[in-house]
Symmetry: D2
Subunit: 353 residues, 4 copies
């Protein structure tokens, strides 16, 4: 019953085999190898447009490097106040972007609203020298609350951002999970609705350590090779990344893995909500489940072997907030989550009231 | 006949198997997994002292992060003028150390001399506010010229550095190759001669993407977990690194791999020097061969399939420098280098005059 | 009727004379001159303790340098969300502190409350690697809303901060104005209630370009001379700063100037509030006046020659917020503000309804 | 007999009067005042072209800010190895340019030679990702050895730099002294020979704290207002800078002051060289004198009241280097240097053998 994180999950066998296949013999260093080239080409096909793409080993690197290509040191990056870039990367975006300012916005269920974005931008007038200049908006898709922006929501935010001269970045650490939920194409969820740059995650969805930074506006990628190298993120045996991404994208593996994780989350969510004494924190829209229950009960589940995290409650509607003796908790599923694990937790929940 | 770099070589089977073994099922994220813990413990045993160690995926990250733990933004880091940190990392050390100054020193065969170090330090008086304050010395072992510092040489440099209040870092991207050459223990080549922090490389010696940053003075490691995270170098599935390092250190694999690479370099060196028209640039002391021959001849070798790099000549004695029609070139061997490859190049050299 | 800012005011004659007196003939460079030494000594006397003090030419430099001495690049600095350091310095604190994160907190009338501070700190657990580590709290005295923290308020916030291992900085750009209001000693408003470092402003209060950074905990000042130099803030003819500060502190000039400015603000405030159709935004506690009136009316005042700024309303109580046709505006007085200017605006306000 | 530095000299009366005239009454803040506008216009006239100019209070700020506008964090700035930006600013250029690398080049008498520049640039190939990318060349005019580049020398270096895609910056801390020596126009010494950006110093030549950063290529100035603000270098009472620069440029004051300083240096140089036992280190071409004499003798001069600095000898021709018992020393003159001071030192030198 390990629902701690999709970071704790293992590696899909196809991806492991690809690493093995790529591991013997000489190959060009620093990403000039065939595997990396193939991954790059495949990403272009999948996104159905001309892109610049770069592989890195961590999501923090993908986000921080992407943002550093979009914002200069005296500029501002706008994000949800509980987003991963703002709260969970120990200041990596600020570091890579040379001290640029991250500006967090509140918003229900991890989502930035058009109103919040407009109001916030109004406090950063372009050309006002004392004010960090607005440079980029970053959205998380899936959000930190496990919710998924609809295409119209992304389009509306991107339009406001572009109208104010900002670039738009998507933190797609769980990109595949969101895509499966929306049932649209990668192009539709990105450049067709105004995304300029994307952190395209694979690690949480069955890879070992592999993310792509993708620029739909290639001019913004001009400095990226230097940024990546200077950040120590250009692997000398770049085939490690190329092999993972190639397998990940082959024959829809990435979508299969995400669909499996999403389905597991759905079963967990439905089953737990059906159990007495559990309330919904946010709707289940991808591979994460956010619920509220009695704190004492959670203690018992943990004692019985359930691994899960307490979660902050800032993005919740006030009327739905946990009471004093309640806790908001998160469960994350992955392609490896088994029915047995889910059933075990559901049984626990049903038995415990 | 690929002698371009040990970065182009593949992965030792034992290391690949270890990755595979670690890849299935749940494991704690961010380096709290068993593999990483075991690697850390094993490193402590091998260095025979109490250390703080951290795994990362690239040598640039290892060096830049280590130096950022030793030098503050207004301080200076002293290195050989042709060292990897100075010339080949696109400014990564300056980036991670917040704008600290790298001060390069000239020196024959890639080595810093005590006199050069003393003279250079005299230009950075402690307490002189206009002067970047001296903070760290970094040595490459193996050097950029393929040579190996003797233990007395390291001890002498470290003593000067410590006397001036500096920390001493070793860039051990080819640590195992140097160790095999010296035939000493890891402790003897590091903390026993004054090294405070070490980039312990595995990638060039049969791993896929794995280096350790090791602090012998653990107080200097206090901020390292934050530095690594903020640099995007804390892998979520940290087992990738732990599995590699564990296998690398098991039953002396790392030393076997290095011994193989060194022996291959020795055969190449001896064979080529015996051929007419080839001169020694620097002695062969590890797994790299630096020679000088007619530029025309190199062209023919390349046409025949030899892959090798031209090399800069700053660290050569003036009287030995290449003539106008000559080129200094580098050959690098790895654990994968075959006798057949070596024989092919030697045959080429003997046939071509 | 120029109430735009105390930055627009001129220079007190005594300070100008001091600059003139210091300007002829040779003097030691870089702050080693007699004037700077005297200023430093005088600051120590006024704060009645052993301090380390450094003069700089701007308030932004004072704040950003002070904070960079208290927080490391991967750490977090806590401030009011509308504070000058957060909103009006184009990211200077982030720049000087190497990308440290500024964390803004909401709070009525520009003040941080103990509850807000505790709640915010709870989201930055010490030792949690993914989280920017808490390093410093910075308070503005006078606040951005023209209010003044009472000694007990400062003491309470500093106690929470110290309890969590943070240093406490005070942005005292209008230090003298607050001191005159509280009628306490400089020591009582700073180190006796827990302030570790202070930006001690003189520019807004009659100097030309002079601020002091003062460390009550001298160990935190260790790197300051290098930080200041590297920031380009060590004046070669440091006597410019020393001469201003010496005159500023002589025979209570600084307190006289502030008392004059505060009295002018009080007259403005009382007179305007007495006029029909003007509401109080925040109480007048120093040399700033924040009021709300009909937007049309402000337009007419401006047409008649009044110079004043519209002001953001985030720190206002919701029930007191401006209506759609109203504007919150700020008036700032200085030692130069004349009764005639005040009377002219009051006449305007009385005549206009 | 204070020949320590032109930083130790006082302020020209006309400049002090201008500060006084600007000091009373209200004026627009942050450089929008009339004095600053006038200074800006006057600079344009003097340089006889359309420029963007910005005033700051220190030479370090001028240099570091200018370079940060020309080089991005992963790029390299080329300079003489003993230049002020490299050796005497505690890493300010690295700080402001976000960790960009300063690359020093050796060169006789403080001058960079075309050959050294070409050779150095050849080691920083454009597009080679591992290499800091070449961005800017910075020349000191007057150099650190007191020498002055001829127009042809500047033109030749700028042509090489531009050919390699670099911008060219001039550190003109002693711009007026060089200009007087060359007897050319400001335009001829700058943009007409390829200078793109200039630190135009006034402080060392009779101002109190005033330098201008001038961009001849105005597109490179786009971000400067933000860079300056973020660096804490935008004075709130900007009139302090505007008033100094206006007076400095009025009726040729700046050239008169420099001519006086240069003439004083010439008298000192000629007189000392005529004395027995004094050798020339570098020719006297502006307001600095570099000579070599017996160390014992210097001790006696100092005992008799002469204030002067020992100086490093790296930029000297080997055959001219000081012997073991000799010292290279520097004397600096200013507009305030009196004939009496000069005569006193000359008398000392003549009497002492």
């Amino acid at each position: 019953m390990n629902f701690a994180s999709d970071n704790s999950a293992g590696v899909a066998p196809q991806i492991l085999q690809s690493i093995a296949a790529a591991s013997a013999g000489a190959a060009a260093a620093y990403g000039a190898d065939d595997w990396s080239q193939r991954a790059s080409q495949r990403l272009g096909e999948i996104f159905d447009t001309d892109i610049a793409s770069y592989l890195v080993a961590t999501g923090t690197a993908a986000n921080a490097l992407a943002l550093s290509a979009l914002a200069r040191p005296w500029e501002a990056i706008f994000c949800h106040e509980e987003s991963h870039v703002h709260d969970d990367e120990c200041g990596a975006p600020e570091f890579f972007a040379g001290g640029a300012k991250l500006v967090g916005m509140a918003g229900y269920a991890g989502k930035i609203t058009p109103d919040a974005l407009k109001e916030t931008l109004s406090r950063f007038p372009r050309g006002l020298v004392k004010s960090s200049q607005p440079a980029a908006l970053t959205l998380s898709q899936v959000t930190e609350a496990g919710t998924v922006y609809g295409l119209d929501e992304i389009r509306a935010l991107a339009a406001i951002a572009h109208g104010a001269g900002l670039s738009v970045h998507m933190d797609g650490a769980r990109f595949a999970n969101a895509l499966v939920t929306l049932g649209c194409t990668p192009a539709e969820m990105t450049w067709k609705v105004g995304i300029d740059a994307l952190s395209f995650g694979a690690t949480k969805n069955g890879a070992l350590a592999c993310e792509a930074v993708i620029f739909f506006d290639k001019r913004k990628a001009e400095a990226f090779p230097y940024l990546r190298k200077r950040g120590g993120h250009t692997l000398s045996k770049g085939r490690l990344l190329g092999a993972q991404m190639t397998a990940y994208l082959q024959e829809g593996l990435w979508l299969d893995l995400a669909a499996r994780a999403n389905a597991a989350a759905r079963r967990l969510f439905d089953g737990l909500v059906a159990a007495a004494g559990v309330r919904v924190a946010w709707p289940c829209q991808a591979n994460e489940v956010f619920l509220i229950t009695a704190s004492e009960r959670l203690k018992r589940w943990r004692a019985a072997g359930a691994v899960l995290h307490d979660w902050p409650t800032r993005a919740i509607a006030p009327e739905a907030a946990p009471q004093v003796d309640e806790t908001l908790f998160r469960l994350v599923t992955s392609f490896e989550t088994t029915d047995a694990e889910i059933d075990a937790l559901l049984a626990l929940a049903r038995a415990d009231r």
